[in-house]
């Protein structure tokens, strides 16, 4: 009993010894007790099997090639012989480099480290290190709980660079996000100027409602952000309370901290979402931080809730217009568009007037979004933004009955295709400002009628059936870092004649809208530095006696 248990423990404690003999190693031997096809090193293969192979998938098995001399097992098929037979040679491979390893006195140099086998003694320590959802190779630098964490110096935190973690008093500004699975990991720092939105699942229980830190508002606004010489406290911008059926109401007194508590078998004031807004100067110093919370209630049956987190950075004194590239458009970001407000003269004539082109987020260039119902008239006006570089096509089906009047139908279809507010100008660069008139490209509108043959009834009205937006763009700037620039946008509406239907009949016609991006960049011309010129000028009295 005691000694068998010790023997069993001793067996468990050591992992199987790694095989290092090249003659016995076989990478292609995957099937146990069966011959693998074309695997010349497989010990399960007999001579008849070898005679059926065409080639050796693993021609040589060597140890670390950095050693000066090492054994190598070379496998090849002798196809000349009849039947083909496998040749196995054990040779010494020599590395001719002068920096080859002659000897090592460090036994783990050339092999992967064997992992520790858990025993009752080291189980707790291994669980601490590897038991969470994530573990890093260097846990000490990211460990938030160590007491020996040195606070970073003031000079380092004065200026943040893009992507640098936003530092707070104890560690970093946390933005919980799913790491490997969908479960929330609190170790994700927020990067400066990196706008992120994450959603993750947290396991909860109503009984431990007030003890789970991540459900309380304090956890998210507790630490203050380190910025230049002072610290920026995170203020509560607004609190919205979400009821069990999903309705959200804004709370007027957002200064009062609402901590989670158990009420009537529900856990109320649990944090369901946090939206951080960080304001910074143009030199990279953080001056303000605010958080908007969504609090909700957790019922007893729920074992997990989904939390959503968002962080956005805005520069002080600017409108938070999201750029679609800096300066050239980035593939996948929405194409920015705008209108010219009424009352301003036509831009081409007045270059000095700063025309304010309103370019808020909602007047992007949008395209009809296909819905599951596929009915044009029932579509609730769902529109998808046009993303730069992504050709899109969408459509819907229009059911025409005899009772429909043409003119209102044409107007409705125009709204369906173009949207409520079809912009007039498109930004040429991803970061075009509204004040720079020349950076905006006007949208050319074309109308094409499908009936090319002259119809006797020309007055029959036409309904638009397709909208095609063609965006021509070019590569602009240097050869090594070309920027995308939109040069021309053409919106073509194709109309067709609506033929009168006999009553009671109905027709279904497809309505399509598409966006195509065409690259019209001319081939790049590299320019070379000019040859240096030699400027020789003779003094004016060089030819004195003769001139």
């Amino acid at each position: 009993p005691a000694d068998t248990r010790d023997a069993a423990q001793a067996r468990v404690r050591s992992a199987p010894a790694p095989v290092t003999d090249v003659a016995r190693l076989c990478v292609c031997d995957l099937l146990v007790a069966q011959c693998d096809v074309n695997c010349c090193c497989d010990p399960d293969c007999s001579a008849e099997d070898f005679s059926l192979f065409t080639t050796c998938s693993v021609p040589a098995v060597t140890g670390d090639s950095q050693l000066c001399s090492q054994k190598a097992a070379v496998y090849s098929l002798d196809v000349e012989a009849n039947p083909p037979e496998r040749i196995f040679k054990l040779i010494d491979q020599v590395n001719p480099s002068i920096f080859c390893i002659h000897a090592t006195n460090y036994e783990q140099a050339l092999y992967l480290k064997s992992p520790e086998i858990p025993t009752p003694e080291n189980f707790d320590q291994l669980l601490d290190k590897f038991g969470g959802a994530t573990f890093s190779a260097e846990p000490d630098s990211w460990n938030l709980d160590t007491d020996t964490q040195n606070p970073p110096e003031a000079n380092e935190t004065s200026r943040y660079e893009y992507g640098a973690p936003v530092q707070t008093e104890d560690a970093f500004l946390r933005l919980p996000s799913p790491v490997v699975s969908s479960w929330c990991s609190d170790a994700n720092p927020a990067g400066f100027l990196v706008n992120q939105a994450t959603k993750c699942i947290r396991s909860v229980s109503v009984e431990k409602c007030d003890s789970i830190q991540a459900l309380s508002m304090l956890f998210y606004i507790n630490s203050s952000i380190l910025a230049s010489v002072f610290q920026v406290n995170i203020t509560v911008q607004s609190i919205a309370v979400q009821s069990l059926n999903g309705m959200r109401t804004l709370v007027s007194s957002s200064e009062v901290l609402r901590l989670p508590m158990v009420l009537d078998e529900l856990c109320i004031n649990a944090v369901l979402g946090v939206n951080y807004h960080i304001t910074h100067t143009d030199t990279g110093e953080i001056i303000e931080a605010a958080a908007a919370f969504v609090l909700g209630a957790i019922s007893k049956e729920e074992l997990s809730i989904e939390q959503s987190f968002e962080i956005s950075f805005t520069q002080e004194n600017t409108q938070p217009v999201p750029l679609s590239g800096n300066p050239g458009y980035v593939v996948g970001l929405p194409v920015r568009a705008g209108f010219q407000p009424q009352g301003y003269p036509f831009p081409a004539a007045f270059l000095f007037a700063a025309l304010a082109l309103s370019s808020n987020k909602h007047s992007q260039l949008t395209i009809l979004q296909s819905t599951s119902t596929q009915d044009c008239l029932a579509a609730q006006g769902a529109r998808a933004p046009v993303l730069f570089g992504y050709n899109m096509i969408s459509g819907c089906k229009l059911r025409i009955t005899a009772a429909m009047k043409c003119q209102p139908l044409a107007q409705t279809l125009l709204v369906v295709l173009k949207g409520q507010s079809f912009p007039e100008y498109v930004a040429s660069f991803g970061n075009s400002q509204a004040q720079d008139v020349l950076d905006w490209v006007p949208i050319t509108q074309l109308h094409i009628s499908e009936q090319m043959i002259s119809h006797t009834l020309q007055s029959s009205c036409q309904i638009p059936v397709s909208l095609g937006i063609e965006v021509k763009w070019t590569k602009y700037g240097s050869l090594v870092n070309p920027q995308a620039r939109i040069v021309n946008v053409t919106a073509t509406i194709t109309t067709t004649t609506l033929k009168q239907l006999p009553s009671g009949r109905e027709r279904i016609i497809p309505i399509t809208s598409s966006v195509v991006f065409t690259d019209i960049s001319s081939p790049a011309e590299p320019s070379y530095k000019a040859w240096p010129t030699i400027n020789i000028k003779l003094p004016f009295d060089f030819f004195y006696p003769f001139v």
Binding site: F99, I101, A103, T104, N105, Y106, A109
Partner: protein
């Protein structure tokens, strides 16, 4: 030898050459240790002894060569004997770098073997010179 000169010319030449070769050896070995620490897995508790041995050897080399020069030129056996003692220590450290480093590259073997040969020849010449001075 018409002016009875006991100083050994070969020893002087060898000490001079040894000084120059040692500078090259030190820089090359340091560069190779840096290369090894980047390319191979070289944890700190294996890197520290190797670097320590190399730097101790460099520190010992300076008095060793100085005493050798001085002893040979002033024909005094005491400095030369001290230099011989320091040479023995340097030989031990060189053998460490040749055999017991964490990673011994082929270039390491070549350089250390050359240095050991130089030390051996030097020791022989020093012994001869001490014998000449004493008698």
């Amino acid at each position: 030898n018409n002016s009875s000169q006991l100083s050994s010319l070969p020893l002087q030449i060898l000490l001079y050459v040894n000084g120059i070769y040692y500078i090259f050896y030190f820089l090359a070995t340091l560069a190779m240790i840096i290369y090894k620490s980047q390319v191979f897995s070289y944890p700190d508790d294996f890197l520290a002894p190797d670097l320590a041995v190399l730097f101790v050897m460099a520190i010992l080399e300076v008095p060793r060569l100085y005493l050798g020069f001085k002893g040979n030129l002033t024909e005094a056996e005491a400095p030369l004997g001290l230099s011989l003692g320091l040479t023995v220590v340097s030989v031990v450290l060189c053998v460490y770098l040749l055999l017991w480093q964490s990673y011994v590259l082929w270039a390491d073997v070549l350089l250390s073997a050359l240095l050991l040969a130089a030390y051996g020849l030097e020791s022989g010449l020093k012994v001869t010179a001490i014998a000449a001075f004493v008698s």
